[in-house]
Symmetry: C2
Subunit: 320 residues, 2 copies
């Protein structure tokens, strides 16, 4: 194809709003659309070639119709889905970006995207680490493995929970968590937590919700803290499970606080200053589960909810 010409644009689209557990067939691949590889005259958009796409649990929340005002906008049936990704700028009408720049931020699950309002796009300055890391460790996603390692660096005793023996081994042997257990093999999560955290839990990083949160609440220590990042166990339910042990917040004066990555974007360079050296020096280990090709996108995304991925799940659309 000639640069700037129209090309077929392979895309991953949502078939229809879903409820319950998502299936691969809820998404489909299409090459019906063509895209011009130039930004329109007078636009301050950015035209990118997508390289790596991030698979994130929150994307399930956008696959249902969101009623009323929300921080999220649903995907549209028949339209391309969106998420975090790493891309290369092919053309730019925006002063912050120029052709050849590598960027990360919100993009489409397609070969090329025209990003008309690039306010959540960030230029990648450091390329001595794998580019794919900007879908994960250097952006967002696959949080648990990192939270545990950051906590270890800060001197915490770290206990992880995962859904298979393989992952438990990874947490203990590769990430050097002090302990880890397979929550699918524990009939009594409260008992499991008492076994692994006999003195109770000072800090819980919440990404699970439901029964796990209820068990954790019973095991929090006085003045403990719960950072609430997500609740993956709830995203496929039409109605969330109820959390019953909130009185533990009172008994133990626990603080529970939600966070969103967007709020911390202004501190991104500070984050890089801490994390990049840790990666270069091998103090932080990062495991990726890489699916090849946009066609493998639906299976990779859906696999998150059965825990098929080991490490950060991403999709390679192109390597450069």
């Amino acid at each position: 194809m000639a640069e700037g010409g129209e090309v077929r644009n392979k895309q991953v689209l949502l078939k229809d709003y879903i409820s319950g557990f998502p299936k691969e067939s809820d998404l489909y691949i299409s090459t019906d659309k063509a895209i011009c590889l130039k930004v329109p005259e007078g636009s301050n958009g950015v035209l990118v070639k997508n390289l790596y796409l991030s698979c994130d649990p929150y994307m399930r929340l956008l696959m249902r119709k969101i009623e009323g005002p929300s921080v999220f906008t649903s995907f549209s049936p028949g339209s391309v889905i969106t998420g975090y990704g790493v891309a290369k700028v092919l053309d730019s009408g925006h002063p912050n970006f120029k052709k050849g720049d590598l960027v990360w931020g919100t993009t489409g699950w397609e070969e090329y995207s025209l990003i008309t309002a690039p306010n959540s796009l960030f230029k990648i300055e450091h390329t001595d680490v794998p580019l794919s890391y900007y879908t994960g460790i250097l952006a967002s996603g696959a949080v648990g493995q990192l939270v545990g390692q950051f906590a270890k660096l800060m001197g915490c005793y770290v206990v992880g929970s995962a859904g298979s023996k393989e992952k438990v081994d990874l947490l203990k042997n590769k990430f050097r968590f002090d302990e880890a257990f397979n929550y699918k093999e524990e009939h009594d999560l409260d008992a499991a937590l008492k076994r692994y955290c006999p003195e109770g839990i000072d800090i819980y990083f919440e990404n699970v919700g439901g029964k796990m949160l209820d068990a954790v609440l019973l095991n929090m220590r006085n003045l403990g803290r719960i950072a609430v990042c997500g609740q993956i166990s709830q995203y496929n339910l039409d109605e969330p499970e109820g959390v019953k042990n909130l009185m533990c917040l009172v008994y133990k004066r626990v603080r529970m606080e939600g966070l969103r990555v967007f709020d911390y974007f202004p501190e991104y360079s500070k984050f890089l200053d801490i994390v990049l050296p840790s990666i270069r020096e091998g103090k932080i280990t990062y495991v990726e589960d890489i699916a090849e090709g946009l066609e493998s996108g639906p299976a990779a995304l859906i696999g998150l909810f059965s825990g098929r991925n080991v490490g950060k799940q991403l999709v390679v659309v192109a390597r450069e």
Copy 2:
């Protein structure tokens, strides 16, 4: 009776551990026990005559068998129940208290109590306000009416929720809340909150739990705060209702934090410095629902859970 002699001691006792909604007959009055009105030789306890007893929702939690370690200790079947009260010292082996002192703190639901470890007993220094206030506004209890008034003094727009038309009138006309509604008449609490707080809720003082908390979570504003003091709607349930909307903590980065009055005892004199002038100047209105005589104790306490009380419920054992 001669001072220092043995006297019959009327008591309110727990019949047996209960589940579900408490009944008056779960408590009983007895005068079987006698008490010596002197502290035992060598003890550093305090012997008090009880004047006012505070009826508090948390007491329901002590009427069931609490398994495992807990911040609370259950009442014992066949034993006197305990709670906050105002009392007069008749005899003291403790250097901080002397005969004639007025005190507030944890005491028994009985005419006379021997308090063997008076570490949660406080001397009353200011007696130009009603003594009964030390079971409530000047100690703990009937929190909602005060939280709303303190919030008004700090310039907040205050919306209250109560369980009868009479109480709603009280909140609006006597306590000068900006708005109040009867939650028993609202089929859709979410809609009610949207009507009364169209711009959302910045601060929620949580004393209800269950469905109310779930509706509040939907209506919190970004970076809002929830102080969790109690969850009265849950105390009579064998298993708490589940709270389903905790993902709102993430969407809106809400902080939810439990508190216990004990943690703030070291700041008690600072609290008095603020509150006593407000009471004297009439800036704070305080409503009490006073039951006469220890015999009326069981009904007064049980009445909390049907909302029979209007204002702070207390029991007068003796006036001096």
